[in-house]
């Protein structure tokens, strides 16, 4: 049900995007993926500007995986922008960055990030992390992101019929969510 939900990847590194795609594959994640390469593009996507106006092709994501260090508006700016939008501000935004700095973690949560994940070195670890993300998406209840008519997002209504929450999934998510930088 939620597996149809798009995950939006925001990262300026082509390599990292490729590795993420591979990791999602290894994690057996079914969610469609969309990619943008910098902050301005991410905002345009969320606004539905230009080509992104076609929501059938570029739907609003259920989760945005947001890198921090990007040209043309970095992750913090995107985060701040989203949290300033009247309804869009509810979106689940997972920071996914190579940075482990405390100040970045603090700033991200101050600006309202949902979670802070640090890119691991190995592909396998990344896959495990994304598997966790998938489980979390399964169990989380998502708010509508638009002032939409009742007919528009049936999938969301269906989520009321989600299976029982899985405790291991929660624990797995908790283990990767960054409250503090790894390795101090």
């Amino acid at each position: 049900m939620n597996e149809n939900q798009t995950i939006l990847l925001v990262d300026d590194s082509v390599d990292d995007l490729a590795l993420m795609r591979e990791a999602f594959r290894r994690a057996k994640c079914q969610h469609p993926l969309q990619e943008v390469h910098h902050g301005e593009e991410a905002i345009a996507y969320l606004k539905g500007e230009g080509p992104y106006g076609d929501r059938s092709q570029f739907p609003l994501p259920v989760v945005m995986l947001l890198d921090l260090n990007m040209p043309k508006k970095n992750g913090f700016e995107v985060l701040a922008w989203v949290r300033a939008q009247p309804v869009l501000k509810r979106m689940a935004i997972f920071i996914l960055t190579a940075s482990m700095r405390t100040e970045d973690v603090e700033r991200a949560f101050d600006l309202g990030a949902t979670s802070f994940l640090v890119k691991p070195l190995s592909l396998d670890e990344l896959a495990a992390m994304l598997h966790c993300l998938g489980d979390w998406i399964q169990i989380n209840h998502f708010p509508p992101l638009e002032e939409a008519g009742r007919n528009e997002r049936p999938a969301i209504r269906d989520r009321w019929h989600n299976p029982e929450p899985q405790v291991p999934a929660i624990l797995a998510w908790a283990s990767v969510n960054c409250r503090e930088p790894r390795g101090a």
């Binding site: 390599d15 990292d16 591979e22 190579a98 070195l121 190995s122």
Partner: protein
């Protein structure tokens, strides 16, 4: 006196005219007639009996001198008269009752046909007759006593005066001597009376003020010297009279008009009765000193200004330095960050290569891919350690009281997976006192040392990790001990240098772990070291101040 005819010889020898008998018989003066060499009383008159206070029968026939006091004198008197035939008067004093009584004896010879036969004695007690004389006598005696006393008093006074005179002369000589000595002094010394008139002016004062002695003596000092007092004169006088001393700075004018500052010390001289008599004043010219003090004050003010400027400069530089440090840190960080991205690619794509190729890759090729991954992992670890080292070297390390136990427990928790995987034995024993440290740095230090202990092991022996703390004086020494291969003494210093891997590739690691430990401990104000010998394990220690 009754001349009775008695025995024949007496009657024949003595012949008195009836007239003389009548005279003597009723005379008011006591009279007695004695005869012979033994002066036996032949006859007495009534007055004599009254004087003796005895009846005639007891007197007549006795030797005369037995009757009266001063027997020997009496006898001598009688003998003289009897022998010389000349009359005599004898006066004697008596003090029967402390009042003088004067006896006067008149003795004249009795002739019988040109032969001396006896003596007539007339006794008079003048006290009975001359009270007034007595009183006068008394007065005279008293007067003479009084005069004696007065003389004595006068003499004693004289003696005192003489002594005083001598004393004064001595004092005057001494004073003159002292005055000569005072003149030798370079300092200005003067003596004033209570009205501040100058009584003494030494050579030093002449030199200091320019006024010769004769012009200064007798003048009022503060008028002559145009003295400006620091406090009201009344106050100074009060203190001087109360404590006997006063000291203070005066501004005075020399003869030529030049102003000088003088340190004046006064002492009050009292006379022998304790009353103020004179004032001794001792003056030191401190004009030069005051100038020096003023110059010093100005110099100090300048110095303070300069110090203020320097402080501002230092603050500005510190701010610059801090900014630079921050920039440096950001720079180092972004480099490390950017360098790690390709490593992810290396690792990830090598992995994908192996998976994708699957059976098509032979063992060698697979090993190559594994090698690529391993290198990427190593470089990643290196970069992470370098970042940690850089952060510890640069960041502000603020020390606070940290509970060692909490940090030890959290480090052990982080290593839990590793501990279990290696079946390591962990011994952690308290007490764990509080230390003055920076918590993240302390955690890093302990983590590095503990993970080393788990890593550097003897083959086929599960690792031992022992953690404990000692208190030595102001410091706490934390021990992280293993029973691994140990370290030779020669190498025990270099292992703390960056990029030093003593065992090369034998044990994993970047060679920066101990450098981080050393830098971290140093920045927290402590020291680090190791006790070890080959085959005996290694006991690493670091010291931090007691909180």
């Amino acid at each position: 006196m009754v001349a009775e005819p008695t025995t024949a010889p007496s009657r024949q020898q003595f012949r008195f005219s009836g007239l003389s008998l009548a005279i003597t018989e009723h005379a008011p003066m006591p009279m007695a007639m004695v005869e012979g060499a033994s002066h036996v009383v032949r006859s007495v008159n009534a007055a004599f009996c009254r004087l003796m206070d005895k009846p005639m029968e007891q007197i007549v026939g006795k030797p005369f001198n037995e009757l009266l006091p001063k027997q020997d004198e009496c006898r001598r008197l009688l003998d003289r008269v009897f022998q010389t035939g000349e009359s005599e008067t004898y006066l004697e004093e008596e003090y029967p009752n402390l009042r003088p009584v004067f006896w006067s004896y008149l003795a004249w010879p009795v002739w019988e046909q040109e032969r001396l036969v006896g003596v007539v004695i007339q006794v008079t007690e003048t006290a009975q007759l001359h009270d007034r004389t007595l009183a006068i006598n008394e007065a005279l005696v008293l007067g003479s006593v009084r005069q004696h006393e007065l003389t004595e008093a006068a003499e004693s006074l004289n003696a005192q005066l003489e002594v005083e005179m001598i004393e004064r002369q001595k004092t005057a000589r001494e004073l003159a001597e002292m005055a000569r000595l005072l003149d030798l002094s370079n300092d200005a010394i003067m003596v004033m009376d209570l009205g501040c008139r100058i009584l003494y002016w030494n050579h030093g004062a002449e030199e200091l003020y320019g006024w010769p002695g004769e012009e200064a003596l007798g003048k009022v000092s503060h008028a002559l010297l145009q003295t400006k007092y620091p406090t009201p004169v009344a106050q100074i006088t009060e203190e001087l009279y109360r404590t006997g001393r006063w000291a203070g700075e005066l501004v005075q004018t020399k003869r030529g008009g030049e102003l000088i500052t003088v340190l004046a010390r006064r002492a009050l001289e009292r006379d022998s009765h304790g009353n103020p008599a004179a004032i001794l004043e001792h003056m030191t010219d401190i004009t030069e000193r005051m100038k020096a003090v003023e110059a010093l004050r100005q110099a100090q003010a300048q110095l303070t200004d300069r110090a203020g400027q320097l402080e501002e400069l230092v603050a500005a530089r510190t701010a610059e330095l801090t900014a630079t440090n921050k920039q440096l840190e950001a720079f180092v960080y972004s480099i490390a960050h950017d360098l790690r991205a390709p490593l992810r690619a290396m690792e990830g794509f090598a992995d994908m290569l192996v998976e994708d190729a699957g059976a098509a890759l032979n063992k060698t090729s697979q090993d190559c891919a594994a090698h690529i991954k391993k290198s990427a992992q190593f470089m990643d670890a290196l970069l992470r350690d370098l970042l940690a080292f850089s952060r510890i070297s640069q960041q502000g390390v603020e020390l606070a009281s940290i509970n060692l136990q909490t940090v030890v427990e959290s480090v052990l928790a982080r290593l839990q997976k590793d501990i279990l995987a290696k079946h390591a034995r962990v011994e952690s024993s308290g007490p764990w006192p509080d230390v003055l440290a920076h918590e993240p740095t302390l955690a890093q230090v302990l983590f590095n040392l503990a993970s080393n202990a788990l890593k550097f092991v003897k083959p086929d022996v599960p690792p031992l990790l022992r953690l404990r703390a000692d208190a030595t004086g102001e410091f706490i020494r934390v021990w992280v001990e293993d029973d691994g291969p140990g370290i030779e003494p020669d190498h025990q210093v270099q292992i703390f240098r960056p990029f030093t891997r003593l065992y090369g590739e034998k044990f994993a690691g970047t060679g920066i772990g101990l450098a981080i430990v050393q830098k971290g401990v140093e920045r927290m104000g402590g020291r680090v070291g190791v006790e070890s010998a080959p085959g005996q394990g290694s006991h690493f220690w670091f010291e931090l101040r007691k909180a």
